[in-house]
């Protein structure tokens, strides 16, 4: 299977790179920088823009009435934030928050909708991406139920690393807890275990992965399922129709 790494370099977004120059021009994407913790949209809010991350990660969370939250899925340079814009609902019930600072191209909501309605490359790419994204969400649901916290953390780190240029994730334990809906103590125990096993180094709010294959071996099946499905769709969406 050809490697998808080439398509996921930090300069580009996989969806945008699958468009022709004419189509990209019509979208008129604007490169913006996003800071850690920036909220791209709130639940129920109509989004003004869709975001195509290049080297940042956006976490999609659901926040309950009592303020507890859980991450549903993440989006990086493999996709787009704002699928509600073309699905017809305009808004969604989750919150999109920047989990790793970086850059994204943003496209005006109306422009995205028009391009989607043309039924050309972007339509196909966005539907494929939605499909892969749903797989990630479903896997999160199953993983939250069945897998121990250290495995969930491994899944989360691997999904994040695949979307980042380096093998470092800037993130405090408290933030990880908020994202994954875990108590800070649970996260501390889990990162401690991985640290002791020599798989990661955690200091000053930054996780450095020392042994990726070790993390892969430790992760539950969920990472592999998501990765396989998104690679499969990514390759097919970049192949000529």
């Amino acid at each position: 299977m050809p490697s998808t790494d080439r398509l996921l370099d930090s300069k580009r977004n996989a969806l945008l790179s699958g468009l022709s120059a004419v189509e990209r021009k019509r979208l008129d994407p604007e490169l913006v920088s996003l800071t850690l913790g920036q909220v791209l949209y709130e639940a129920g809010e109509t989004m003004s823009h869709a975001y195509f991350p290049t080297d940042c990660i956006v976490s999609v969370l659901y926040v309950m009435r009592n303020g507890q939250s859980a991450e549903i899925a993440i989006v990086g340079n493999d996709g787009m934030v704002g699928i509600a814009l073309f699905m017809g609902g305009e808004s969604t019930l989750s919150r999109g928050i920047v989990q790793n600072a970086g850059h994204a191209y943003r496209v005006k909501a109306a422009v995205l909708k028009d391009e989607f309605d043309r039924g050309e490359a972007l339509t196909r790419l966005l539907l494929m991406f939605s499909s892969a994204w749903i797989t990630q969400m479903v896997q999160t649901a199953a993983c939250n139920r069945h897998h121990p916290i250290d495995q969930q953390l491994c899944r989360w780190m691997l999904l994040s690393l695949d979307r980042l240029p380096a093998n470092r994730i800037s993130m405090t334990e408290k933030l990880i807890g908020n994202m994954l809906g875990l108590s800070p103590l649970d996260v501390t125990n889990a990162t401690g275990e991985l640290h002791d096993a020599g798989l990661i180094r955690y200091d000053a709010g930054e996780i450095t992965v020392l042994d990726r294959s070790g993390i892969e071996a430790r992760s539950c099946e969920c990472y592999e399922v998501v990765k396989k499905e998104s690679d499969r769709l990514l390759l097919s969406m970049l192949a000529p129709a």
Partner: protein, 262 residues
């Protein structure tokens, strides 16, 4: 993994009836010419339903005596077959191909047309309305896909934060909403598999609900005795999923409430 899979199948089982209703609703207006790109998981249900529909259209094709037909073949964009055998590409812009994925064993997803193209009597006006209809159906599927995201998201959250009893209430209510009466035929083993929890947890929670007079449970049949009480015990996830389906798919909620009769 077996448990995870059953949990997901449970989800599909519940949403399946909604798809069926949507598709039956679309049949009211003309042939279904649509495809959709739903998740790899939802495709099973959708494919099955589309097959049913194309079979019923096969019947119509054979019995009708109308000389002119229009068919839309999703694998090749749009081609109209006219009664005298000429093929003509429409000047109207074809709608985006709606794509139903191939199966998991299919290395490359590809568009797949219905087995038989859906046919309907066509005049110029009808052709145009068929196109608009296809657009309508596509919008419907996309909205449905977005609605489908809602229970998945809620299950991810609910699995993390809510008690088994609350989850059982959610499951009972979402299931009962999709059934004609308040009786669910279901063993505790199956419920445990659906929710992905231990059977003992389900037994304890079901026992509590029964003691409180909310449900009656006997020999694989669960009867919801006091629905308002059940709604009081459920976590917020139930209402969130329902509101999202109502918002995105008013047709389906009208059907459920008997406002729209097929």
């Amino acid at each position: 993994m077996r448990r995870c899979r059953l949990l997901l199948e449970g989800l599909l089982y519940r949403v399946g009836s909604a798809i069926e209703r949507l598709l039956s609703a679309t049949l009211l207006y003309g042939p279904l010419l649509a495809a959709c790109c739903l998740s790899g998981l939802a495709k099973v249900v959708v494919t099955a339903q589309v097959d049913v529909i194309s079979r019923s259209h096969g019947g119509v094709t054979r019995t009708s005596s109308s000389p002119t037909w229009a068919g839309l073949d999703t694998s090749r964009g749009a081609i109209f077959r006219l009664g005298d055998g000429r093929k003509k590409r429409p000047t109207l812009r074809p709608q985006p191909n709606l794509v139903i994925h191939g199966g998991r064993d299919d290395p490359k997803p590809r568009g797949r047309s219905q087995r038989r193209p859906s046919l309907s009597p066509a005049g110029n006006g009808v052709l145009k309305s068929e196109f608009e209809f296809a657009r309508h159906v596509q919008d419907l599927f996309l909205r449905y896909t977005q609605a489908l995201i809602s229970p998945m998201r809620q299950i991810a959250v609910c699995n993390r934060h809510h008690s088994i009893e609350q989850q059982l209430c959610r499951w009972l209510l979402l299931s009962a909403d999709r059934l004609p009466n308040n009786v669910l035929t279901m063993t505790q083993d199956l419920i445990a598999n659906m929710l992905g929890v231990r059977r003992e947890g389900v037994t304890a929670s079901a026992g509590k609900l029964q003691d409180a007079g909310v449900i009656r449970y006997s020999r694989g049949r669960i009867t919801i005795v006091d629905r308002p009480k059940l709604e009081k015990r459920v976590c917020e996830c139930y209402a969130v999923v329902n509101r999202e389906f109502d918002r995105l798919l008013p047709i389906a909620s009208n059907l459920n409430e008997g406002k729209l009769v097929l």
